[in-house]
């Protein structure tokens, strides 16, 4: 088996400004090249915290445990160092950056990722190609980052960046939220079009529907900051049908309401 891209070892995470509140309470996870993992769970279970922590968000602090990326302990690394090494986070709520065009952002990001200036012609060619694969018009790249974008456009803009930056690990945080069926299909097809065989993907989602387009090899259920159950795609299907309650009940995590 190939070496893992990502390993989380008994990871415990709290909010930086509220160190007493631990959100992730000991998570172990291993993602190998080519694998797609889905992390599911009810609201407030710690999914987005885990995603942000892997990306290096200063909002969260790792209390104990390790984040190992391609064999290297990156637990103390800044977000930009991680990104340059090939970790990409597709944000649940991408930030608006007025005055900065998508082209500007992509040029700077690509320069950082490759460690050198990307020649203009090469850049434009890659941009055209990636836009094409996402069925996006070139006008899109001239707009300010997320400024006035619809929900679907924001998520496509994230996938456009993923396509240009060619990460080894992509974390898709609720990429399906706020999208209608058509927008969801477009975004998911974009992800599939831009996937590379050596890439690992972690999809974070409430619902199963995005997984119909991007089929996961493994599904993990996060509840209360812990992975309480792991399985294959069928686990996601089961959640779609029955919700989280049966799993919670089975694990004794659901308080029965006394009648």
């Amino acid at each position: 088996m190939s070496d893992p891209i990502l390993e989380l070892r008994d990871l415990k995470v709290s909010i930086t400004e509220k160190p007493d509140i631990q959100i992730v309470k000991g998570v172990n996870l291993t993602i190998r090249p080519g694998e797609i993992h889905a992390l599911m769970g009810p609201n407030g279970s710690g999914k987005s915290t885990l995603a942000s922590t892997i990306a290096g968000s200063p909002t969260y602090t790792v209390n104990s445990g390790q984040v190992i990326y391609q064999g290297e302990d990156i637990t103390g690394m800044t977000a930009d160092e991680r990104a340059r090494k090939g970790i990409f986070l597709s944000f649940q709520y991408p930030t608006t950056i007025p005055g900065v065009t998508m082209v500007n952002l992509l040029r700077e990001a690509l320069k950082a990722r490759r460690g050198q200036e990307v020649p203009a012609r090469e850049f434009i060619q890659e941009l055209r190609e990636t836009l094409g694969r996402l069925k996006m018009s070139e006008d899109f790249a001239r707009r300010y980052v997320n400024d006035g974008f619809s929900g679907g456009e924001k998520k496509r803009a994230e996938i456009l960046q993923m396509g240009m930056l060619r990460p080894d690990l992509a974390i898709l945080d609720e990429t399906d939220s706020g999208l209608d069926v058509d927008a969801l299909r477009t975004v998911a097809e974009g992800v599939n079009a831009l996937r590379r065989p050596e890439m690992g993907i972690l999809i974070i989602t409430h619902y199963e529907r995005i997984l119909d387009y991007i089929n996961p090899d493994f599904v993990h259920v996060l509840v209360g900051g812990r992975v309480v159950k792991s399985g294959d795609f069928s686990l996601a299907k089961q959640i779609e049908t029955d919700g989280y309650d049966p799993i919670l009940k089975e694990l004794g995590l659901l308080q029965e309401v006394a009648s």
């Binding site: 944000f91 005055g99 900065v100």
Partner: protein
Amino acid sequence: MAGAHAAQYAPEQAVSASRDRGEPSWLADARAEAARAFDVTPMPTPALRPWKYTNVAGLVIDSFAPDARFAPVVEGDAPEGGFAGTIAHALLDAAQAAVVQQHLGAVVKATEGKFVAANAALWTAGAFIHAPRGKAFAGPVSVTLEAGEGAIFPRVLIVAEPGSEVSVIIHAASGDAALLASTVVEVVAQADARVRLAFDIRWGDQTQEFALVRTRADRGSDVKIDTLAIGGHLVKQTFESLLEGEGATSTIRGVALGDRDQHFDFVTYQDHIAPRTVSSVGIKVALAGYSRAAYYGVTRVEETAKGADAVQENRNMLLSRHAKADSDPVLEILTNDVTRCGHGATVGPVDKDALFYLQSRGLDNRAAMKLLVAGFFASVLHDIDDPVLEADLAAEVERKLSVADY
């Protein structure tokens, strides 16, 4: 308290220097009057609202030796009947001299204040841009203010006759020596004239500038002023627009980028006098190091200005925790009949979410800051008439942020 060079600021000296330059007697008289005003006018104190954040109590203007050889370099081709050159040259031409005499000192009176009086007494060469009736300049006029040390008194007069068009870019630069600049710019925009004026401020580290830019805007005229302040130890600019004619429009846009101990102070005064006049002020400031900025803006809508449209905005981005900005926009509305009247002010650190977003794309802290500031300034820079200046300023902002202290 008189400074070491007080003799050069005296009325007799102003008059004899004027005579030596061969200036007409009306001008010599005006200089004498200005020098007398300088002598009796006190320095402004922080008790005066526009001077609250820039305390000049320790500044002695006449401790700086006036640079008698200072002359703006004016480049540009005027249409027939117009003029682009120094005021000194214009005075040699009877027709142009008449226009100068009519307007010079009519927009900004020498007796209004200490800095203005010093300027009116001691300005040298000057710059005069005259757009004749119904004519447009083919390209922008460039006025370069470049100086070494001591005191300079840049004086610019722009007269745009009815239906004319002119664009002027003032470039300001100096070396590392201590320099004081007291600048006065008078803009006369007659009916339906279109005037564009940009300040490219790149003074040296030891330069202090105090500038008053006042516009009289007649019916249907459209005046836009940009200030792009990057260099200088202390830059205080006051922009006043008197919207005297129906439907006149005044737009003020500014960006300032501070670092180290730079100090920027912007004051705006938009006076809506005539009906359906329009004013828009938008000043964006980014501050690194220990730099600081102040903004005080008054938009006044007189009883006579029915249907006025006025917006005023000042935004300050603090790039370091030692930087500081004060912002104080004021509306004075004396009529019930306004189309729109609004103002906004913000002072705050860089948006943390935006910073993390860019960092998550691989940009280090400095690269992310650069991009955020470039984006913050973009709307103002994109809107400058001159694409070469726009690109040059963007590069200058980038250079400055490459070494700035966050």
